[in-house]
């Protein structure tokens, strides 16, 4: 019989694997990273010796629990680290491991591909010294490196305060946190946020900690531009009071997270527009079944809900898979998991209200602002194509190359969509969805084939 495969060894993938193993299934777990844990609970290199408390803060017990679960599972599954799934076809996954390609057949697959930062560029964002929030966090968590000595954090989303806090704790000089969400939005969001009081409390704690340590936190503040000769030297930001300048040597910015959906797309999953995520997401039922039989979705790769939800969704998707294969599963457990997901979902709605995406970003983006750094396409070039009558995002891509480069739109797609929508006068959900094409990440010439 063909095996069950899981793509991604983050919180969702590991809990899914644990659930499958508990039912006597021997799954294949494919992960791009060298060690399990995903991005949020990414493990440091084997020879690094920082404590979990130091690496993961409040989440240390969750991280340790997940890592321990995973270590205990190692002999009971076919774990393939350092393995990129670069293509998917019905019943087959194409992998790349140390320069060799191979093909994995599967009967069912759980897609737990996680998320990356959502980037709304500001002038100067391609200068050395500018990172996404997630990347800044990984540098610290994985290698114990800071992106700079005098760092500014900007954008919005829960990561903003968390990463600023982690940097300050690690000894970096955090010059300011520029939160583009106005305070009023966060007050309005409070009822929703109360659905997860503990998480809310952590968020408030990070901010309070920053303030009490003399770190400036500005609300309703947006990054106007980043300047520097050969790398970041200063930036300008503005709020209702006007524009201000700051000297710094590094900037980390993002506006929340975006789901990594290319594999779900290549697997043929139906997508629908999510107002909450402001993104096209693969459809899933409350248990995690996609529109394609045998394909299950869990974690942030199918909609941003965070690590706790990912663990729950991973287990729930695995139970759905088992159920569909004819295994007996505990219906009470399933209902419990779905209830938990629903509760987190309400909190997530609150978060989105608290950290609103600056929907006027596109209108204010200057024509010379670089949107697609791989293909060097500016906002003005995108607008010109829209001006020629194109509004469908794949058509705009065909005409000006936005999203056609190395990242395949993973970094620039969200911003390009905002520009196209704004310029064509259409809602961003009505300009089509940028289609994914293999390879999900670059593939080298001259590769070897696994016999």
């Amino acid at each position: 019989m063909k095996p069950v495969a899981i793509i991604g060894a983050g919180p969702a993938g590991i809990r899914a694997a644990q659930t499958l193993v508990a039912h006597g299934v021997y799954p294949i777990l494919l992960d791009e990273a060298a060690r399990g844990g995903g991005q949020i609970y990414r493990q440091q290199p084997a020879n690094f010796k920082r404590s979990p408390a130091k690496l993961y803060g409040f989440e240390a017990h969750k991280a340790s629990a997940l890592h321990q679960t995973f270590d205990a599972l190692r002999e009971q599954l076919d774990y393939r680290p350092d393995t990129l799934v670069w293509n998917a076809e019905a019943g087959l996954l194409d992998t790349l491991h140390e320069g060799r390609v191979a093909r994995v057949e599967y009967a069912s697959v759980i897609v737990a591909t996680g998320a990356t930062d959502r980037i709304l560029p500001a002038p100067g964002w391609t200068l050395p010294g500018v990172y996404s929030l997630g990347a800044a966090q990984i540098a610290l968590k994985f290698q114990g490196c800071a992106i700079g000595e005098r760092v500014v954090f900007a954008g919005s989303g829960p990561l903003l305060y968390l990463v600023a806090y982690q940097y300050a704790r690690a000894g970096a000089k955090v010059l300011a946190v520029l939160d583009s969400s106005p305070l009023s939005a966060q007050a309005r969001a409070l009822p929703g946020l109360l659905a997860q009081p503990a998480t809310l409390a952590k968020g408030l704690y990070y901010r309070a900690w920053l303030t009490s340590h003399g770190i400036a936190v500005h609300q309703g503040a947006s990054l106007s531009r980043i300047d520097g000769e050969r790398r970041v030297q200063s930036l300008k930001w503005r709020n209702a009071k006007g524009e201000q300048a700051l000297d710094c040597d590094a900037v980390a910015f993002a506006h929340g997270l975006r789901s990594e959906t290319q594999l779900a797309d290549l697997l043929g999953c139906e997508f629908s527009w999510s107002h909450l995520n402001r993104a096209w997401l693969p459809q899933r039922d409350p248990a995690g079944r996609s529109s394609v039989p045998g394909v299950y979705l869990a974690g942030d790769g199918a909609g941003i809900m965070g690590a706790d939800a990912a663990e729950i969704a991973g287990e729930r998707a695995a139970l759905a898979l088992l159920e569909d294969l004819g295994y007996l599963v505990d219906p009470q457990r399933c209902a419990q998991l779905e209830q938990s997901l629903e509760r987190i979902g309400r909190f997530r709605q609150g978060l989105e209200r608290a950290f609103v995406l600056p929907t006027d970003w596109a209108a204010h983006a200057a024509d010379d602002l670089m949107i697609c750094r791989c293909e060097e396409v500016s906002a003005g070039e995108i607008r010109q194509v829209v001006g020629e009558g194109h509004w469908e995002i794949n058509r705009v891509k065909a005409h000006c190359r936005v999203g056609m480069g190395r990242c395949q739109g993973r970094m620039c797609g969200a911003a390009a969509a905002e520009i196209i929508a704004s310029e064509s006068g259409r809602p961003v959900g009505e300009i089509g969805r940028m289609r994914a094409q293999a390879p999900v990440k670059p593939l080298p010439f001259g590769l070897e084939i696994e016999p």
Partner: protein
């Protein structure tokens, strides 16, 4: 109700160039495209603008197209990244080289000016070609262009000359009432015209069938991929005698490679598939060693119509006066497309094409039963 002189089904390069030339000739034209103009084969093909290697019967039309391509910016308003880089057809064996010599001899007089290169000449002139090639045939004035830009631009140019272009407008019904065609679309348009052009690419047999002359067409899905930008190395578009990988490098530095067949996802969408992609990634380094270690960043495919003899159908319907066909270009319609649009225009405006289309008559399939 839209009354025009000509309704064209299909906004690929053939239909769009017909729309352009007919509009320029003063005809009222409606161009109906199910998706977006130039979004299928015409827009996602390799981008070869090549006469070399075509069947001799296509060369007169292809030579006409060559003249049209030389006027591209004047015609469609953009250069479409068109460059006459030369087209280099590589031979990997003495037999293949002999085949190139035979083709050069047989195509004398069609204006291709082929230059045959032995191993040393090939090395001296194109040092980036791998040792696996034993010789080549160069067509100096062939080249390549960006199909994503060129094909939609033909439709845009037609619109500027007065053609009514309807995108996302699938045809739901076609009939002829004895005097004129009636065409209805899924979007609720009703059109009438004395002429109907079937330029529906891989989907054209469906319309031919409605007039009782279905043809044995099948769909092909060429596998294509593109690299990240690389230092400029390739100063010619290339192909291989006997089939295999074809490759070109665009001004930005990306190398576009094709070879092998993908598979259909559904009636309209296709993907290269793993096997074809890996074949290209492995074989390409033999032909083009500089690609070793380069990264492929994107793959794609399309849906192209093939007839059993790999020749197109171009010209009059044998069952319905006023109906003209132009489809089945077997993955080689991009270069020749504009000349086909011009020939169709001549049929409508002058009664006959200046270039003979006899080899492409639909009647050649009448004795073949359609599977």
């Amino acid at each position: 109700m839209i009354e025009v002189d000509v309704v064209i089904i299909g906004g690929g390069i053939v239909g769009a160039s017909a729309a352009l030339f007919l509009s320029k000739a003063g005809r009222r034209v409606a161009l109906l495209e199910r998706d977006f103009c130039g979004s299928h084969s015409s827009g996602v093909n390799y981008g070869g603008v090549r006469r070399q290697g075509r069947p001799l019967s296509q060369l007169p039309l292809s030579q006409r197209a060559h003249e049209i391509w030389s006027q591209l910016p004047q015609l469609i308003g953009i250069d479409g990244e068109y460059q006459r880089s030369g087209h280099l057809k590589l031979a990997r064996s003495p037999d293949d080289l002999r085949a190139l010599h035979d083709y050069a001899a047989n195509s004398q007089g069609f204006g291709l000016d082929l230059q045959l290169l032995d191993r040393d000449q090939l090395r001296a002139r194109f040092p980036w070609v791998g040792a696996v090639a034993v010789g080549a045939s160069l067509c100096p004035d062939d080249g390549h262009a960006n199909p994503r830009l060129v094909s939609p631009a033909f439709a845009q140019a037609a619109r500027r000359h007065g053609a009514q272009v309807f995108e996302q407008c699938a045809v739901s019904h076609v009939e002829h009432d004895g005097q004129r065609f009636g065409v209805r679309t899924e979007t609720g348009l009703v059109l009438q015209a004395p002429w109907l052009l079937n330029c529906a690419g891989a989907w054209a047999s469906h319309f031919a069938g409605q007039f009782g002359e279905a043809v044995p067409m099948h769909a092909g899905h060429p596998a294509m991929l593109v690299t990240e930008p690389l230092p400029l190395v390739m100063d010619a578009s290339t192909g291989v005698e006997g089939g295999g990988i074809y490759a070109r490098q665009v001004a930005r530095g990306n190398c576009v490679l094709g070879g092998g067949q993908g598979f259909a996802l559904d009636d309209a969408r296709a993907r290269p598939g793993q096997n074809a992609v890996i074949d290209i990634l492995r074989q390409a380094v033999e032909l083009y060693p500089f690609l070793e270690g380069a990264q492929a960043i994107r793959t794609w495919s399309g849906t192209e119509g093939y007839l059993p003899d790999r020749q197109p159908v171009i010209g009059h319907s044998s069952t319905q006066p006023g109906l003209l066909h132009a489809f089945g270009f077997a993955g080689a319609g991009f270069q020749i497309g504009p000349a086909v649009g011009q020939a169709l225009t001549e049929i409508i405006c002058c009664g006959a094409s200046k270039t003979s289309l006899d080899a492409f008559s639909i009647t050649r399939f009448h004795s073949i039963s359609v599977a």
